[in-house]
């Protein structure tokens, strides 16, 4: 299915390209047609034509993911339809002028929408890795500034350096960073950054998170920073891994992967309506109308919540819920019945069969969205608590092993490569012994951040043991995997950690196993092979990445 899916996505992208190519012409045509209207009955055929063109635009726009354009076209279409229902002479000239302006504005909406990728079937590209986050650093000490930029770069952050406050102010009048990091004191300009941000309009208008860094964490600067709503106040010498930790947390709060909901309902129109409503709220939805497909759908789509119709041909909701609960993996998956059933006894009986709640049809759109959001968020919280390591937020041992099996099976089905990397910190024990566990934890977190930063969202990352990590890289061959992990190794080796004025570095070794070299292997075999490659890297002198040779791991021995 994966192959078909990507081929299909490629074909779809071609169609979208062709559509976008002739769309500006159509928009110009619509605008020209609208501007020739003057409010005479003889123009009825023209208005009728316009109505149809807007209708087509609304429909095709949403089909190709141009939601804003579609929405605007829909509004204009409605207006045209309303006018067609009465005498054309009655059209208010002011409303007509606004309508014409609306048609002219469509082109600008298109230009905005076009720059975004098509939403229906997006696949993540492998390069460039990491997200682009625009950081500005304002630091009058140019040497120090350049060093911070270099260190942030190792974590994959692109940083723009300003050595003067007024240069940053000028830039702020035109552009906006995702985050602003500022030194507090600018003796040469005779300025204090906390005062400048408070008093100058260009800074005040920025509306982005601000982090201050200062040699003296004096009380007044701190208070002023806090009053400005600064995200943080860090003291020099700057501990870059700690700064990155701060950045990661700030961005993580903003980045939320969409909730996934499976709707099982034989009433396709209603299910489709629910899907549209939930999708409108940014929720990923899959609809199935055939109850027998539910197991496959849950396995493939891995929903975080199931909305289940209570009565379907051949099966009842409680029967399906019971079947789902027979699978250990899905014991905790929230199941909510959607039903017109108002009989309390029937509801209670249904709840006895493994479902969590009831939503009564008809249900308002807002209520549906809220009900789904709350339940998925709670399920996610619980799942995170159980599956994620509290220090790094990475997946725990058991879960990552599961992921390997799942991703390997998926890769085999789709005929695609998949790689597993086992990563271990070098001489980590001596860091713990020398600097203490708190510092050791910071090193662990730094690796975790670096991996998250450099890998794709579709890659699963886990903490396998104390200082051992696993990365699962779907759709990634040996060469790409080696380049990606090598990049992480080199960046990590370049990091300098601070502890009580002392600076130290740490390195990592990694072993890689790629599924294409092990056509017969199970997930556990891949893990063992990656582990063997890791030990080869250790034996080879550490601070390096080794690729497993393709020989099946020796079984039964240890």
């Amino acid at each position: 299915m994966d192959d078909l899916e990507s081929e299909f996505a490629a074909e779809l992208a071609k169609l979208r390209g062709a559509y976008l190519e002739h769309l500006p012409e159509e928009l110009a045509g619509i605008a020209a047609c609208a501007s020739s209207l003057s409010g005479r009955e003889s123009e009825r055929p023209l208005l009728d034509e316009l109505h149809h063109r807007l209708h087509k635009l609304a429909g095709s726009g949403s089909t190709f993911g141009l939601d804003d354009l579609s929405r605007e076209a829909r509004v204009l279409e409605k207006q045209a339809r309303a006018w067609l229902a009465g005498p054309i002479e009655r059209i208010d000239p002011g409303a007509l002028a606004a309508f014409v302006r609306g048609t002219q504005a469509l082109a600008a909406t298109l230009r905005q929408g076009e720059s975004r990728p098509a939403p229906p079937l997006k696949s993540e590209p492998h390069a460039p890795l990491g997200r682009r986050i625009d950081i500005w650093l304002v630091e009058d000490d140019a040497l120090l500034g350049r060093e911070i930029v270099r260190l942030l770069d190792q974590f994959g952050y692109q940083t723009r350096l300003f050595t003067r406050l007024d240069a940053a102010e000028q830039a702020a009048a035109r552009e906006r960073p995702d985050i602003l990091i500022m030194d507090v004191l600018f003796p040469e300009e005779g300025l204090n950054a906390t005062e400048a941000v408070a008093s100058r309009p260009a800074f005040r208008a920025l509306d982005c998170p601000i982090l201050f860094i200062s040699a003296q964490g004096d009380f007044h600067s701190r208070v002023r920073a806090a009053r400005l709503g600064a995200e943080g106040f860090l003291t020099k010498p700057l501990d870059v891994p700690r700064l990155v930790d701060r950045l990661e947390r700030m961005f993580e709060e903003r980045q939320v992967t969409p909730h996934r909901v499976l709707i099982v309902d034989d009433d396709i129109t209603l299910a489709e309506h629910f899907r549209l409503v939930l999708r409108g709220a940014g929720i990923d939805v899959k609809v199935i109308t055939d109850p027998e497909a539910i197991i496959d759908a849950v396995a493939a789509f891995r929903p975080e919540l199931i909305l289940l119709d209570l009565m379907m041909p051949g099966y009842t909701g409680p029967e399906l819920a019971t079947v789902i609960r027979q699978y250990d993996d899905w014991v905790g998956l929230p199941i909510v019945y959607l039903s017109a059933e108002t009989d309390l006894d029937a509801q209670i009986q249904a709840l006895g069969h493994g479902a969590d709640d009831f939503l009564a049809k008809p249900i308002s759109d807002a209520h549906l969205v809220a009900a789904v959001r709350v339940r998925v968020a709670r399920a996610r919280q619980l799942d995170n608590l159980m599956a994620r390591d509290s220090l790094t937020g990475l997946l725990k041992h058991a879960r990552i092993k599961e992921e390997v099996e799942i991703e390997l099976a998926r890769a085999r089905r789709g005929g695609k490569p998949m790689s597993v990397a086992m990563i271990d910190l070098d001489h980590f024990k001596s860091i713990n012994d020398t600097y203490g566990h708190a510092v050791g934890d910071r090193v662990i977190k730094a690796v975790a951040h670096l991996m998250r930063q450099r890998l794709r969202l579709s890659d699963a990352i886990g903490r396998y043991g104390g200082e051992e990590f696993i990365a699962i890289l779907p759709d990634c061959d040996c060469d790409t995997a080696q380049a990606v992990i090598e990049d992480i190794r080199a960046r990590f080796a370049g990091l300098r950690f601070q502890h009580e004025g002392e600076e130290f570095a740490c390195t990592l070794s990694a072993g890689l196993a790629c599924s294409t070299r092990y056509p017969e292997a199970k997930g556990s075999d891949l893990l063992i092979s990656a582990d063997e490659a890791l030990y080869a890297a250790k034996r080879g002198g550490r601070n390096q990445v080794c690729l497993a040779d393709g020989k099946m791991p020796s079984l039964g021995e240890d």
Binding site: E11, L15, E49, H55, G59, E272, V287
Partner: protein, 128 residues
């Protein structure tokens, strides 16, 4: 159970036509013929002999419901199941379309990835 193989897709918007054709052929494995209007659909239906007709509701000239009614008047075409596709899948519209003899109603915009399975589901509901 009769098999769903040939689908006549009727829509005046060529962009949506092409996505629907791709989705139904590539994902669903159906044989698809496209028509740009109700009038064209009436001319082509007999020769193509579709198992199912997917009909856009709002088209210039003969709209979906009018095309459906015209199909029902021709003995050779009257038995072909028709599914209407509409952007405004409001409850009262759906009821009216069903009363006109439509097999079912599919909301637009459709998801290209699942259109074929939606159509198959409608078919199986009525022919399963």
């Amino acid at each position: 159970m009769s098999l769903l193989q040939r689908i006549l897709y009727v829509d005046d918007e060529t962009g949506i036509q092409s996505v629907a054709k791709l989705a139904l052929e590539m994902v669903g494995g159906f044989t698809v013929k496209l028509c740009g209007s109700g009038e064209e659909a009436l001319r082509e239906a007999a020769a193509f002999a579709p198992d199912l007709i997917l009909l856009d509701v709002m088209m210039p000239g003969m709209d979906g419901p009018a095309t459906l009614a015209a199909l029902r008047e021709q003995p050779a075409l009257a038995a072909i199941p028709v599914v209407l596709m509409t952007a405004r899948a409001q409850a009262e519209d759906v009821a009216r379309y069903l009363s006109l003899g439509a097999l079912d109603v599919i909301a637009k915009p459709f998801d290209p990835m699942t259109l074929a399975s939606q159509v198959r589901a409608v078919w199986e509901k009525h022919h399963g």
